[in-house]
Symmetry: C2
Subunit: 281 residues, 2 copies
């Protein structure tokens, strides 16, 4: 086992008191191994994650209402898609409920900002994944003045109340904010422009957004400060190293699932009786 955490990920990556402007986005907080050790650990821990997820799914099928919801936020190129592909990709798709949130449609804008979010909440036994989320409504919306401050300002409290309700109903939230440096983003956008198989990931608007970097940092800081709660804490992932970000999210999900203390659900039938019945037909 290449377990090289000096501090568990769930401690090392806590957002509490963190200033984004001080963050070393190339760091690997809590992990003492190098890239090759990280990749070995990632492969091993993916198997653990997959086993735990199967138990969550099994319990859901047996009526357990609990679920886990991974909320992914981060600037363009931060690696959210890679988390879905390589971390969520290691578990059974039957138990995954994936939703991506973009700029709200006209129909969505006619509703409360949480309307489209509630429709995509995971059911019992599911591992939900939000690629962007309700937090867009205090990030891009705030930075670009899509609604006036008196409209987005109360959303922090609304989000806290909403998440408290989710936790009360049995959903464990794993909120992950991924950060790359402005330089690393430039490298990744450059690669998308160089490679024919990456052009589809490039959007000219991503370059426009770079001009708003300080405003985004402010909005992300406010988000962390105002919505990292005891029941739904934020984790901050330095994401310049893709292998570390993937390993870190794997660890956070494992921790969340372990805290559910899942066992295989007990049979809801008499085993011996069913064996006798099966023998006869």
């Amino acid at each position: 086992m290449a377990m090289k955490w000096s501090i568990p990920a769930v401690e090392a990556l806590k957002a509490d008191g963190l200033r984004i402007t001080d963050l070393d986005t190339s760091g690997t907080p809590g992990f003492t191994g190098d890239k090759s050790e990280g990749l070995v650990s990632l492969a091993e821990r993916a198997t653990v994650l997959s086993g735990l997820q199967e138990k969550l799914y099994a319990n859901g099928r047996s009526g357990d209402k609990r679920s886990v919801l991974l909320v992914l936020q981060g600037m363009d190129t931060a690696g959210k898609g890679g988390i879905v592909r390589y971390v969520i990709g290691s578990v059974d798709p039957q138990g995954v409920d994936h939703a991506a949130f973009g700029v709200p449609t006209e129909k969505e804008l006619r509703h409360h900002f949480l309307w489209r979010i509630r429709r995509e909440l995971p059911g019992g036994g599911q591992l939900g994944v939000f690629d962007r989320s309700h937090y867009e409504d205090v990030l891009v919306v705030r930075v670009h003045d899509l609604v006036p401050p008196e409209e987005w300002e109360p959303r922090y409290d609304e989000i806290n109340a909403f998440e408290e309700e989710l936790v009360y109903e049995g959903t464990t939230l794993v909120k992950v904010a991924m950060f790359v440096s402005l330089d690393e983003q430039k490298r990744r956008l450059s690669e998308r422009l160089e490679r024919r198989d990456k052009h589809w990931k490039f959007n000219p608007a991503d370059i426009d957004e770079r001009a708003h970097w300080p405003a985004y940092q402010q909005a992300y800081q406010a988000m962390l400060d105002r919505t990292s709660s005891g029941h739904a804490p934020w984790y901050v992932i330095p994401a310049d190293r893709k292998w570390f970000a993937r390993l870190a999210v794997t660890e956070l999900l494992i921790d969340a699932l372990e805290r559910l203390e899942l066992d295989w659900p007990p049979p809801q039938f008499d085993i011996e009786e069913q064996k006798r019945r099966l023998a006869q037909i």
Copy 2:
């Protein structure tokens, strides 16, 4: 490359003219290799499938409306879940749209039988997966007289018309019927009763269904005879060997994706202009 197909899967597994009662469910039609060769091939071909699926997804993101929809049918324990876990599990979850259909709810019953199906159709660029499907409405419904014959009888034609419409709109249907023998099903149900980590997969009703085996065979035969069309053919998979079933479905999906002749979508921007812009910020 362990390509050991004497006849391509897409030919060897065609339902045309096949009598289910004549099927050797332990066979490996078209594949000349053994289990270990099959597993090597499966690993290699999973990578090919994943590459093609990424292109489908990329094109979808660029506005292509085409999609692929895998329809899985089969008796309990036939291995539908394993297909989702091990075949669909090899591609990027972002591009997968999975839906499982059970016994219709009261709300669903108040609608046309295709209502719940249409709601789950994959969007452009998506690989949709139906674990059971609209065919339940001519299988379990027919076997158990859940609606009178004058109601299920016209459904074959309705399904053909519906699928023709889907194909016209750009969806490639890959319809897969998986068959295990009555003995193999007994072994698999037995295992679910023996193993603590499999109890959750067992349902006493699965044993009741065994008594209806001939009626199900009849219903499956009618389904193949009446809904295997040029635009949406059925494939029949002998499924006693799990590795073969998974390899076969992988091949069918690869064939479907290859026929779309996907390339990376062309950039919808001027590359040099974007490079200049990026260099400045």
